[in-house]
């Protein structure tokens, strides 16, 4: 909101230049975002916190300035020439919903002449972002800006002699000033002429009773409406106005009369006319004085200050809050224009901000401290990121995705992963459901990067996925997923690693090894989103930890990815549940190790895992290690067969092995391979 400094000076004296004023207000909690110079004036850009809606009125803002420089404010004096008639002859106000409308005051100004407002008034409104309309409407807006009391002006002749404030009837229709027909419900408050609505209370007047060029008699409304109800209605009908903004934040129920008088006076000045004597003021339950006790020792206790009671008292008095002392405590009368102050801490904040936050000495909490730290699961997640980060770049994707992803991933209709937590009011279909897996985000990352010619990708993400629960909050599981494609960076050596299935499997095996889960089995997977011949489920003693594989070519196509990509996705909570601390199992042998290589021809369907297991089983004592070091099929090997070469390391803890020892071990191994797989030595 823009605030003119010249206008502010009508209510309070200060010698501060614009910047100084802005700084003082900012440091007192009334944030000034910027200053604009206009001719001989400065306009402050006010950014109010929601509790200080009162400062949307110039007079209340002036109170803040006065509190800061120890002066006091000037309220414009009211001088109205009333005629000898009585308001009761003209209007009768009734309130049928006194919970939502706690006060309603009306005043009548007869025989006005509707015309353009004078330049000063138009300019003032424009500075404040309000479009000038005519002198009467402009006055109501001006007084609203001045007193923070929204007013409404009806054409009395179009209204009749009754005002009844009531809840709307369900389905009742009403056309507001902006010529939009609104459908109302039973929770909305309307102003009626006894039968039909003439205004949507506190939000906008009706088209049928608005002030127009030929209006002669003006009925002014100044009322107090319950903020939360105005807010609800305003949201439901999708209409926010300068008026509703103020009512939402709370207005001054005791300022209603001053504002209506101020408006009547200005209308008389600017549009002529006669003000009918009296105000129709319905105020069934006048506001009870709110008294809040402030204990000086509590102020120092909470702030860590050493203020004297008299200092505190003077801060409250600078705010013009009436203060009485009682047994060393202060009983403070809270002015009705400060609805934000309800309890003692609110007053402590007032003391603190007038004292100045910057004058409060900083310190550190003393006393006993429990050592802080991370939980084992938090440390575990760090550990995983630390293991992944040397190889993969971490990404962070939104937790919500488009439901279309499930189609793209070729998930069948009855897939559990389609059972989503749905956002009722998403920003777009692209962000409509909570992700049930990380893969779609990662594939989208690959797709966008490839489209931007960022080749050779290696991404991982750790984050929550979400599943609906029978009752209560949805389930959240932490997962880690990754996607890779292309190969390692081009370079002048001949080493370029292709980031294929086995590359990614290496990363996963490294992770598993570091977590003590090297016993994990890779079992051929049947997953709709992955290549059926190039994917595996990870099983740890029967528990499925996740999946790794080349992404199915049709899925890649659906994500506009024109090259092979591999991905994995693991359940971090399961990894955590199974993780083991590594122990030193292998003693360091004092006797030399001997290596032997063999190459055997095996049928294609014999897996490496099966062959390795057979080798280990055949020689449990002396075989320290065995790895596959070559794999070949093609010429010299019959169709349907492959040649697999193993490097075996033999070692004894007790003695140096002889050729005989080793030969007999190797023979045993070869026999075993022949027996189990009909393997032939090459």
């Amino acid at each position: 909101m823009g605030v003119s400094i010249n206008w502010l000076k009508q209510y309070v004296d200060f010698n501060w230049r614009a910047e100084e004023l802005a700084n003082r207000l900012t440091m007192a909690g009334i944030a000034i975002e910027g200053i604009d110079q206009e001719d001989d004036d400065f306009i402050l850009d006010l950014d109010l916190t929601p509790n200080r809606g009162d400062c949307l009125g110039m007079i209340n803002l002036a109170r803040e300035v006065a509190a800061l420089n120890g002066s006091s404010i000037r309220m414009p004096e009211i001088a109205i020439k009333e005629n000898h008639e009585n308001i009761n002859q003209y209007i009768k106000v009734g309130i049928d919903a006194s919970d939502l409308c706690q006060r309603y005051a009306a005043r009548l100004v007869k025989n006005v002449k509707i015309q353009e407002s004078p330049a000063w008034l138009q300019k003032t409104l424009i500075h404040s972002g309000i479009r000038p309309i005519n002198n009467v409407v402009d006055v109501t807006n001006y007084v609203m800006l001045e007193c923070n009391q929204p007013l409404h002006a009806f054409d009395y002749n179009l209204l009749g002699n009754t005002i009844l404030v009531r809840r709307a009837r369900a389905g009742e229709r009403f056309t507001t000033l902006d010529e939009v027909e609104r459908k109302l419900d039973n929770d909305m408050l309307v102003i009626t002429d006894g039968s039909k609505p003439v205004a949507l209370a506190g939000i906008m007047g009706g088209l049928d009773s608005e002030i127009h060029d030929a209006t002669v008699n003006v009925l002014l409304e100044s009322a107090w409406f319950l903020g939360p109800n105005i807010r609800r209605t305003s949201r439901k009908v999708g209409l926010r106005s300068e008026s509703s903004i103020r009512f939402e934040k709370g207005t001054d129920i005791n300022g209603v009369i001053y504002a209506v008088n101020r408006a009547a006076m200005l209308i008389q000045e600017l549009a002529g006319g006669e003000v009918v004597k009296g105000i129709e003021d319905v105020y069934p339950e006048p506001r009870k004085e709110l008294q809040v006790t402030l204990r000086p020792e509590r102020v120092n206790y909470l702030l860590g200050t050493e203020l004297t009671p008299s200092q505190m008292r003077s801060y409250l008095e600078q705010l013009q809050f009436p203060v009485k002392e009682q047994k060393g405590n202060f009983i403070v009368n809270i002015p009705s224009y400060r609805p934000d102050i309800e309890i003692e801490v609110d007053l402590i904040e007032e003391v603190a901000r007038l004292h100045g936050y910057d004058k409060i000495e900083p310190g550190l909490p003393g006393g006993e401290t429990i050592p802080g730290g991370l939980t084992p699961f938090q440390k575990f997640r760090d550990e995983i990121k630390n293991i992944m980060s040397p190889y993969l770049n971490e990404v962070i994707n939104y937790s919500f995705i488009s439901e279309e992803n499930f189609q793209r991933l070729l998930l069948p209709q009855d897939s559990n992963l389609r059972n989503v937590v749905r956002i009722a009011n998403p920003l777009s279909e692209e962000q409509a459901v909570m992700r049930t897996l990380l893969l779609p985000g990662l594939l989208e990352n690959a797709s966008t990067n490839l489209a931007r010619k960022n080749e050779n990708l290696e991404f991982y993400e750790m984050g929550a996925v979400f599943y609906p629960a029978e009752s209560g909050l949805p389930l959240e599981r932490i997962r880690i997923g990754a996607v890779v494609c292309g190969h390692s960076d081009v370079n002048w050596t001949r080493h370029r690693v292709e980031m294929d299935f086995f590359y990614l499997k290496g990363i996963v095996e490294n992770l598993l090894w570091k977590l003590g889960l090297e016993d994990c089995e890779f079992v051929v997977a049947k997953d709709f989103s992955y290549h059926p011949g190039r994917s595996a489920v990870l099983k740890y003693y029967g528990d499925e930890l996740g999946i790794i594989g080349e992404v199915h070519p049709l899925v890649l196509h659906n994500y506009d990815i024109k090259q092979r990509c591999c991905a994995f996705e693991l359940d971090v909570e399961k990894l955590f549940a199974h993780k083991r601390t590594r122990l030193m199992v292998d003693k360091i042998a004092r006797y030399p190790a001997v290596e032997r290589d063999i190459a055997v021809v095996l049928a294609d369907e014999v897996t490496a895992a099966a062959a390795l297991k057979a080798i280990r089983d055949a020689e449990r004592e002396l075989l320290k290690d065995v790895v596959v070091f070559d794999l070949y099929s093609g010429e010299q090997v019959a169709v349907g067969y492959k040649s697999m070469a193993f490097r075996m390391t033999f070692q004894s803890m007790e003695r140096t092995l002889t050729d005989n020892d080793i030969n007999s071990s190797v023979n045993r191994i070869v026999d075993r391979l022949q027996k189990d797989f009909k393997a032939e030595l090459r």
């Binding site: 310190g363 770049n393 962070i396 956002i423 959240e476």
Partner: protein
């Protein structure tokens, strides 16, 4: 015989100087000093001489043998070192060629900043608490003194799952969850990192972003402690020379509430585009925990006090790394990610 010895000596010297590799020297050594070598032959002939002559010639011959042995070994050393030099020269590489490229992964900048923030508070004795990203209205709003229809709900337009369940709009719900779990234990000293969600998507707002929340509850916790703790944090993360100021603000769950500003890290406070020419950057909100919130958490606001704070991780990361576009964090472009 002496002439013979002299001839052997002269020839050996000549041949040695001409020898160009270890093999030639070894051959020569055998020829001269070997078991059937020339010197050996001479020494064998000594027995035919008379005793007097035998002694003097024998002495000369032995001296010569010793001298030749020394010559051979020094010449061998010389050639070896020449050969090594040659080999080293031959083996030199273009050291300006780049090293073998290792895979270069890395953590997301938000993770890095999160860890940095976390570590500062860990050393101050804080623990890390966490809570669900999908929350109940109760923990997200009600228990934080934000009843239905409170204007503060508008400050954070929410994504709803159902009427009572929503994507948390801040990490503050974990405050109450932690209090409920710990009450009446003291002290409570936690930070809460996590993803949060608001229904806003433009150049400066992301519908998902990250916060770190903090909460300290104990007997005699003061606003001064809030200032001291957060000032320490600001100095650790932005440098000891950064200036800090506190302004009154409003949060429904704290009273008094404050906003902490730091002197602009870009212009050092003189005013620039980054700080909208104010010299100050708003980096976190804080305040003394509202007694009503303490009560929701199971603590008596008369007996204990506390402070809470919250900050946006993206904002801190943008300031620390000089990132000028919020969207880069969630765009996940390799060219961006690889810079961290």
């Amino acid at each position: 015989m002496l002439n013979k010895l002299k001839e052997i000596a002269d020839n050996s010297e000549k041949w040695l100087s001409q020898a160009s590799n270890i093999d030639e020297i070894n051959e020569l050594r055998v020829k001269v000093l070997g078991r059937k070598g020339e010197i050996t032959q001479v020494l064998r002939g000594l027995k035919d001489l008379d005793a007097g002559e035998r002694a003097s010639v024998g002495k000369i011959a032995n001296q010569l043998k010793e001298r030749l042995e020394n010559m051979f070994s020094s010449r061998t050393e010389e050639i070896k070192s020449q050969e090594l030099e040659l080999r080293l020269a031959r083996e030199s590489v273009d050291i300006s060629l780049p090293g073998l490229p290792l895979q270069r992964g890395g953590k997301h900048p938000l993770t890095l900043i999160n860890e940095e923030i976390r570590d500062i508070f860990l050393t101050m004795g804080f623990s890390v608490a966490e809570g669900p990203e999908i929350e109940s209205d109760y923990y997200n709003f009600e228990a934080l003194n934000i009843p239905r229809d409170h204007p503060a709900r508008e400050m954070q337009d929410s994504f709803y799952i159902s009427e009572d369940i929503l994507l948390r709009t801040h990490t503050s719900p974990v405050q109450v969850r932690t209090m409920e779990k710990l009450a009446p234990q003291l002290p409570v000293k936690i930070i809460v990192p996590g993803r949060v969600y608001r229904r806003d998507d433009d150049a400066t707002h992301s519908p998902m972003f990250n916060q770190v929340e903090g909460l300290v509850i104990d007997k005699r916790i003061t606003f001064g402690h809030l200032k001291g703790t957060l000032m320490h944090f600001a100095h650790k993360i932005f440098g000891e020379d950064v200036k800090v100021r506190y302004r009154p603000s409003f949060f429904p769950f704290t009273e008094p509430s404050a906003e902490m500003d730091i002197s602009c890290v870009n212009c050092k406070g003189s005013g620039c585009r980054v700080c909208s020419h104010t010299g100050w950057l708003e980096i976190l909100g804080a305040g003394m925990v509202d007694p009503r919130v303490l009560q929701f958490g199971g603590y008596d606001g008369e007996q204990v006090t506390g402070f809470a704070f919250g900050m946006g991780v993206e904002r801190i990361a943008m300031l620390k790394y000089g990132i000028n576009d919020l969207r880069l964090f969630f765009d996940n472009d390799k060219r961006f990610l690889r810079q961290f």
